[in-house]
Structure formats: C-alpha cells, structure tokens
Amino acid sequence: MKFLSINRRMLALLAVVVPLLALLIYVALRSGPLASIPVTVTTAESHSIAPALFGIGTVEARFTYRIGPTVAGRIKRVEVQVGDRVQAGQLLGEMDPVDFDDRIAAQKAALNRGESAVVAAEAQVRETLARKTYAEKQASRYEQLLKTRSVSEESVEGKRQEIQVTEAGFAAARANLGATRQEMARIRSDLDGLIQQRANLRLITPVSGLVATRNADPGTTVVAGQSVVEVIDPATLWINVRFDQLRVSGLRTGLPVQIVLRSQEGIRFAGRVLRLEPMADAVTEETLAKVIFDALPKRLPPVGELAEVTVEMSALPETPVLPNASVQRVTGRLGVWLIEEDKLRFAPIKVGATDLDGRVQILEGIKAGDRVVVYSQRALGPRSRVKIVERLEGVSP
C-alpha cells in the first residue's frame, strides 16, 4: 500500500517533469543555433523572359505655339480664354497700336497729294509738248520762208533756238513726271509697310488648337518675344518619359508600351516609343524618350500629368530562370543557395536580364532542374540546417 502510494506520487511528479523536459528539448531545437531554418525551394526552369522597362513621364504637347508681339508694347485686348478651341488664322488678341493709325492716315494724305502732283506733272508734260510742237512747226515754216528770202536769217535762227528751248522744257517735264511717280511708289510702299506692321500687332494663331495658357491681360506691357497666349494642338500629345539608365539596354523606337495615367489608374492605354532622345539627362542619370498614344484617351489628360510607361521588349532566348529573391550576395560574390541531397551549397552565378515580375536569367552557374532556395526565415550560411516548407511563417497565402 505504501509502495503503491509512493508510486502514484512518483507518477504524478513524472507527469509534470517529463512534459517539462520534452518542452525544453522542443524549445532548444526550435530556437537558438540548433534550430533549422525554414526555407522554400524552387526548381530552375528553362524559360524565355521578356524584359520590360518601367519609366515615369509627363504628358506634354508636341508643339507649343507661344503667340506674342514682335515688338515691345502694351496689350490692347485678348479675345480668348484658356480652354477655348481656336481655328488657324483666328484673331486671339491685339497690341495697342499707339500712333500707328495716325501715321497711316498721314501716309494716305501724302499719297493723295502725290497723285495730284502726278496730274500736275502730266499736264506740264503736255504743255511743254504742245510748246515744242508749235515751235517745230514755226521753225519749219520759217525755213520755207527763208528759201524765198521772205524772212531774215536771224529770225530763222530764233525759231531754231525756240525748238531747243521747248525740247529741254519737255524733257524736264517728263523727268519731273517720272520723279513724281517714283515718289508715289515710295509713299505707297511706306503705307503698305505701315499697314503690315499694324497687322503684325494683331495676335493670330497659325494653327487650330486649344488655348493652353493666357499669360498676360489687356493693359500689360510685354517685351518682344514674350508670349501672351499659348496654343497647343491636343491631337499631338505625347509623353516625355524618363528611364533609369541602368536598364535601358534594348530600348528602341517603335516598341509597344502601356501607359497608365495618374488620374485614370487601372486603365492601360496602348502606345509606342516614338523616339529616343540623343541627349540623356546627366544629372538624374536617366535616358529620355518620347512615347505616343496609339489612340488618344477620350478624356484628354492635362499637359503635365504624370504617367507610368511600361515598355515591352522582345522575348530573349531560353535560359535557366530564377526568381530574383533567390539571388544573394555572400562575401562579395553573387550566387544562389543550391540544395543538393538536402545539403546547402552556395553556387556563384552570373545573371542576365530581369523582367518586371522579378525573374532573372541565369547565364552561368545553374542548370535547369537545380533546386534553389528562394525564401528563408533567416540569413543562410554554409552550415545552416534547413527545413523545406511550402510557405514561411507569417506570410499569408
């Protein structure tokens, strides 16, 4: 009986101590240096990847027409507001002409006076011509009379001299007429010039488009070349995209792109690379490119809106492919952790292109079918013990 009771107590004590010891062993194996590290494993597969390039750009108008005066002056009126559609040749505004109109009136008066001067000169020509004809006739008459000795030699000489005088008068009158006509032409040209300069004060759009900005209002003084109104052609919107220089190899004109506008997230617009800028941005280390929409969005994006551009490049030849999460740098060398017969080995590799889904081409060091560690609960070392699991702790499916 006594033995039994002790035995029962012993059992109860064991019932407490044994689970405690079991827990201790479990705890010692689960944490600390003895614990194995849970990892997930993937198999390298031979795949062809299509690298893609991601860039950020802003919507810009291909052509911006900055319309302003060619001489300094004050704005008299601006006819259009921002957002107005304008037609080629439409009057957008006008500069203050100041004394232009008066100068044109003066020139017109001068022209009228000139016309009268021409009439006077023509009359003078006719008068001198008449004098000349009369003098010639008189002279010929006196020549006849001289033959019959009815007049003296002296009076014939007088008539001959009269011809010379009237001829000179006639030539002078004709020259005067020519000069007056030239003067007229000068005044007319001056007037035309003034009218054209006056017309130049009118701000006229050379293209049909949209008024993008209105930089100055009536009464403002602007200098030559300063724009009063900017007109863009919304049909020529493009995106000025910046690509990180690290990844642009393979970027060519004509490649298809997908465009996502910041205001219309979720909608992908198709487009293509129109041109690669020959000048890269040296400060931000980015390459610039212009991308156009295949079809403009129905709701036009404002100029300056942010856009995300993904360029799809052509597929590369098949190589072993691994997720980029498996590639690590250990003591300065790039490589992956291979699982060979449940043992861990670090295999140095050479990587090629990457696609946007994080798949990396492995050029050297791995062949298709190799088992490689992708995710690990802790950093791995050559002597780590690993336990292969489906999914790591704390990661939802």
Partner: protein, 400 residues
C-alpha cells in the same frame, strides 16, 4: 540507500513543483530582460549587416547616417566608385516616418535603394515572400513586422506604392521595421514639401520683385524649378574589392574627397556605443537589479521551505541522522528547485519572446550563464538554510 531529498519531495511534491514553477517564471522574466538587451544590440548589428556595406561614406564631420543626419549630393557616388579598391558604391537614404495603408499607419524606416538588381548594397539580403524591386518607381519591399501584405498599396507622402516583397528582421536601430523603396521616390519623400507648402512657396517667390521681373520673362520659372530639386542622399554604401582592407580604401576617400568614412567596426561603435548606449544601459541596469532581486527571492524561498520543515529536521536529528545527510537533503532540494525553475523559465521566455513588439534575442550563452547563476544562487541560498537546519535543537521535535 534511500534518497532523503527524493522522499521529502515526494512527500509534498505539489508544493515543490509549484514553488519551482513560480521561481521559473521569475527566472523567465530575467532571461527575457537579458533577451531584450541582446535584442537591442542585435537590432543595431542587423542594421549594419542588412546594408551589405563595408564602408559608409557620409557628410564630413558627422556621425551619419544612423546616429546623426547626413546629407550628400547624389552624384558623389560616381567619384567614390572611381577610388581604388571600391567594388560597388550605391546611394541610400533613410527616413523614419509613418506609412499609411488604408485606415491605419505604421511607424517604419523608409530606405531608398538603387534598384540595381540583387546583391547591390542596401537591398534587403533575403526575402520571405514576393520579389525584389524591379521597377525604378512605386514599388516597395516591406519588413513583415509592418503587417503589410503582398500586393497591398501603401502611401508614403504623396505617392502610392505596391508591396511586391516581404522580408524579415530588417529594422532600424530603434527597432522600427524597414520599408525599401526606389531611391528616386525616397529622395522625393524625404525632401519634397507638401503640396500646400510648395504652392505657398511659389506664391512667395512670384511676389518677390527680384525674381519676377517684367523685363526678363522665364526668370520666375527658372527660379521655381530650381527650388523643387533635391539632389541629396544620406550616405553612400561601399563594398570593397576582395583583397582590400576596408580601412585602406577608406583613407583616400577621407583625405581626397573630404568626406567622412566609417568602417564596419567604427559604425558598430557609433551605433552601440553612442546611439543605443543610454537605452541599453537602462535595460542593463534593470537586468542587474532584476537578477539581484531574483537571487534574493530564490534564497528566501529555499530558506522558508527549510524553516517549514524544521520539525521534521529535528526528528531526523533526534533519530541520529548525520548532519551531512541533512545538509545534502537541503542542498539537493535547492538544486532541484533551481533546475525546475530554470527549465520553466527557459520555456516561458522562449514562448513569450516572439510576442514582444521589439526583437527579443535569447542567446544560448545567456541561457547557460543563467543556468550556472541559478545553481550558484541555489547553492548559496541552501547554505543559509543548512546553517539554520543544523542549529535546530533535536528537542524541538518533541516540544511545542
């Protein structure tokens, strides 16, 4: 031979075990406190490990980028890359801020890394899900402690980022989980003012006649553009070529580029010796007091346990038991109590350590030290109890 201690424990095993468990919880707290201290130091070390750098190039005369603010131009890395012995150099920015996700926000350290591919300095060394950053904008790899899930969208300042990868144990020296985003975005997040501030700055500049002259169109635009650029980073992480000693590479950069360069050893000194020094000392002080209090409590428990058995001991003496046997019994019981206490403490600490919001590192060395400590304290405490037991007058067994 019958074990006297064993028989006595058997006699009141419930009391013995529960006392042991209570003691164990106390030891568990002490071990955890040691773990908290180790965790703090480890957070600092893991920060350095994760950056994958051999050298940190920071602003001259600063202790940056972790302990002090440091600001460099972002093209400095080009000249550093050309220095002898430099294998790779990468820009990096650090900024601790609240990251919004839906309705909640999480305190995190935003790390701006150059998305140059796996293994570049600054990138998270290993992932537990998802993938590394591949786009040069608007993607993030977050530490799992942030609670973010793959595919979620988080907001940092003005922009939204898709979480594409999860990592683990990537924390700042303060224990805040890290969120890795592309460098250009991080520069923007760090130095970009909010929209209202930008609008007001533009208004102020436009109102300044020096910048807004009627005679020079375009000047205002140029001034405004120059105000919104941010070509700054916090540090350049450098990996040295194999065969070079980091200090050898650091010296020419210090001398000729007039920048401060720290090696791994110096950086550790800054982080542990300066940045977390006070906090660590605080925890350390607490640990010391806790250890002393635990030792005192263990001693008192064993002493009172023995005093509770004083009558039985008197009987033992009366029947002529040798002092050695009685002392052995008390000593064995004390050590047994210590053993149960340590086991319970170790188990408890291991189970509740992961629940702590900050990292608690239970080191094997600490556990062994604790084990030895518990035994020494139990032995010393039992000496007190033995003295009391041996002084007992056998007559007490019959009296009172």
């Amino acid at each position: 031979m019958i074990s006297l201690a064993g028989r006595d424990i058997m006699h009141s095993w419930g009391k013995f075990v529960f006392t042991g468990v209570g003691l164990g919880l106390l030891i568990g707290v002490t071990l955890t406190m040691a773990g908290v201290y180790r965790g703090m130091v480890d957070d600092a070390k893991v920060l350095l490990d994760n950056s994958g750098a051999d050298l940190w190039v920071v602003q001259q005369d600063t202790l940056g980028p972790y302990a002090e603010p440091s600001s460099l131009y972002d093209d400095v890395y080009r000249t550093i890359r050309g220095m002898p012995g430099v294998d790779r150099a990468a820009n990096i920015t650090y900024l601790t801020m609240q990251v919004r996700q839906g309705q909640r926000d999480v305190r995190a350290m935003i790390v701006g890394v150059v998305p140059g591919g796996p293994g570049e300095p600054g990138q998270p060394g290993y992932l537990i899900a998802g993938r590394q950053i591949t786009r040069s904008h608007y993607e993030a790899v977050a530490d799992v402690a942030t609670g973010f899930k793959l595919g979620e969208r988080i907001q940092i300042r003005r922009n939204h980022y898709a979480v594409v990868g999860l990592t683990r144990r990537m924390v700042s020296s303060g224990g805040d989980p890290m969120v890795f985003i592309p460098l250009k975005d991080a520069q923007e997040a760090q130095f970009l003012k909010d929209n209202d501030a930008i609008a007001q700055q533009r208004r102020r500049t436009a109102g300044n006649p020096a910048f807004n002259r009627p005679g020079t169109p375009g000047l205002l635009d140029a001034v405004l553009a120059s105000q919104s650029i941010n070509p700054y980073i916090n540090a350049v992480l450098v990996q040295v070529k194999p065969g070079f000693i980091p200090e050898e590479v650091a010296e020419p950069i210090r001398r000729w580029k007039r920048l401060q360069v720290y090696t791994r050893v110096q950086m550790e000194e800054i982080l542990i010796g300066k940045l977390i020094a006070t906090a660590a000392k605080q925890i350390g002080m607490f640990l010391v007091i806790l250890a002393i209090v635990s030792a005192a409590i263990v001693a008192f428990i064993i002493y009172t346990l023995t005093l509770g058995k004083i009558r039985e001991i008197a009987v033992l003496k009366l029947i002529g038991t040798r002092n050695r046997t009685i002392a052995g019994m008390i000593m064995q019981q004390a050590l047994g109590l210590g053993l149960i206490g340590f086991v319970v403490g170790k188990i408890a600490a291991t189970f509740w350590a992961p629940i702590f919001p900050k990292y608690v590192l239970l080191e094997l060395g600490d556990a062994l030290l604790g084990f030895a400590g518990v035994f020494v304290i139990c032995a010393l405490a039992s000496v007190l109890a033995i003295r009391a037991a041996l002084k007992v007058d056998p007559a007490e067994a019959i009296g009172g």
